[in-house]
């Protein structure tokens, strides 16, 4: 039977060249589809098998790891007796169990400790860190950092950040400028958290952009990490060629209310990028930079709408009272709805008798649409 089949295939192969072209093409496509199906199914089977093995292994090891953490950390008697964390001794026999020598078990152990650290701080958090160090898991994380695979590097950096383990600048700094956006963002976040002396050093070498979402993450890390040394961000405003870094520094200057940065921010008003200029104007407003008001009013006429609106908002935030007439003029005579809204809000933001008088005066003299704008802006239930 097999011989017949082989003969048939051999015959088909010999005659293949004499078949019409469309039959040849159809035949080739059938072979290709069969091969692709076999490869796809094999790949699915291999993946499923791997997942099955992983699940089986996890089911076996997870209770053991949880028991270890429960006994050595959560229910540690020395912890409840008030022994300092550094002096607490773990049960060496439990830690030196042969099973914890296996690579996959050690990774499962790291993952579990990291997960616990996310949920616990204070003494339990510190003891988890000690367990991680005492079991030599730091070396496992370092090994991952040395590989070429970016996913493993990201994993290692996350582990170091979670366990608060310091890494040398030489190792992390190059990764903060990696072309891979995920590795870059993780390395930057880790660097800020772990570098105790100069957490913002990577701003100096960053040529790759700091993406908006990464800015949010980094901002959260900077503003929530304890004992972080906050530098004067104006130095990057003046010298960094990376626009996203400058933009991010403007936000940090606003957040930390760094008034010493006002001259550097004012220099940005000469930038040719409208959006960049608008950000600088907004920053000056948030810093209540009264010194910048004259300049803002002076450049107002030649600015695009986005910058004009920001200038009006900034004058409202600075609220010196010197430019109420200017704001009144913009509210009454501007043809742009956005300008009139921004001018009205800026006058109201002044929150002074003079400003209230200006509003009363405009209400009695202006036309209906402006009155509606003023009423809208005066409504405390409507947020800006």
């Amino acid at each position: 039977m097999w011989k017949d089949l082989i003969d048939l295939l051999f015959q088909a192969y010999e005659n293949f060249g004499f078949l019409p072209l469309f039959i040849q093409v159809a035949f080739a496509l059938i072979i290709l589809a069969l091969a692709a199906t076999i490869v796809a199914y094999s790949s699915i089977l291999v993946r499923r098998y791997k997942a099955y093995v992983h699940e089986k292994r996890m089911n076996f090891i997870t209770p053991k790891i949880e028991d270890l953490i429960t006994e050595q950390v959560l229910l540690n008697e020395q912890l409840s007796m008030g022994v300092p964390i550094d002096e607490i001794q773990f049960d060496k026999k439990a830690l030196s169990d042969k099973i914890y020598k296996k690579l996959w078990v050690r990774q499962a152990l790291i993952d579990t400790i990291v997960q616990y650290r996310k949920n616990f701080r204070g003494e339990v958090g510190e003891l988890l860190r000690k367990l991680y160090i005492d079991m030599g898991l730091t070396n496992d994380s370092f090994e991952k950092l040395k590989t070429m695979k970016w996913e493993r590097k990201v994993k290692a950096l996350t582990e170091f950040s979670q366990m608060d383990i310091q890494i040398s600048d030489v190792t992390v700094l190059p990764m903060t400028n990696s072309p891979n956006p995920i590795l870059r963002a993780t390395a930057r976040n880790a660097y800020v958290q772990l570098s105790k002396n100069e957490p913002f050093k990577f701003f100096d070498i960053a040529t790759e952009p700091l993406l908006p979402w990464d800015q949010l993450e980094l901002f959260k890390i900077i503003t929530t990490t304890k004992d972080i040394v906050i530098p004067n961000f104006s130095r990057w405003i003046s010298y960094s060629g990376n626009k996203s870094i400058v933009s991010f520094c403007l936000k940090l200057i606003e957040h930390y209310d760094q008034k010493t940065a006002i001259p550097a921010v004012m220099d940005l008003l000469n930038s040719k990028d409208h959006y960049f200029r608008a950000e600088a104007i907004a920053c000056l407003g948030k810093l209540s930079a009264e010194i910048a008001e004259v300049r803002l009013v002076k450049i107002y006429e030649h600015q695009p709408l986005i910058c004009q609106v920001e200038i009006l908002r900034a004058i409202g935030n600075i609220a010196s009272g010197k430019y109420l007439e200017f704001l009144k003029h913009e509210l009454m005579y501007s043809t742009s709805f956005d300008i009139r809204m921004a001018a009205t809000r800026a006058i109201i933001n002044h929150d002074s008798d003079e400003a209230r008088e200006v509003i009363r005066e405009i209400m009695s003299t202006t036309y209906e649409e402006n009155r509606i704008i003023i009423k809208h802006c005066l409504n405390p239930l409507i947020k800006n």
Binding site: Y116, N119, E123
Partner: protein, 128 residues
Amino acid sequence: MANILVVEDDEIMLKAVKNILSKDGYNVILAKNGKEAFEKLENADYDLVLSDLMMPYANGLEVISRLKNDPAKRHIGIIIVSSVGNEETITEAFRLGADDYLKKPIMAGELLIRIRKLLTNKAVRQSL
């Protein structure tokens, strides 16, 4: 021995909290989500509920709301343990009737103190 229901979808946290509270002498019952918590609340009497906010099926706010709107269970104290830190959600939790709030990552010692304080206050209120 006080009965405490811990509602949490993160299994690691669930077991860890159980171990910490059991060590301190509490009788701990676990629920992996709000729906499971409702079932357990129907079947037994509890002194305190420790609940996460973000959970599948029914979230922590629904747990508080259901508990505080039930006259028979209104007396049960609720402590929210969550990584959600925005003011609106916390305010909403307190408005619905939560007694305390702990932000993750938590400190085991602080959790125990707050539980003890809440249970003591409750006992004092009941004795008056």
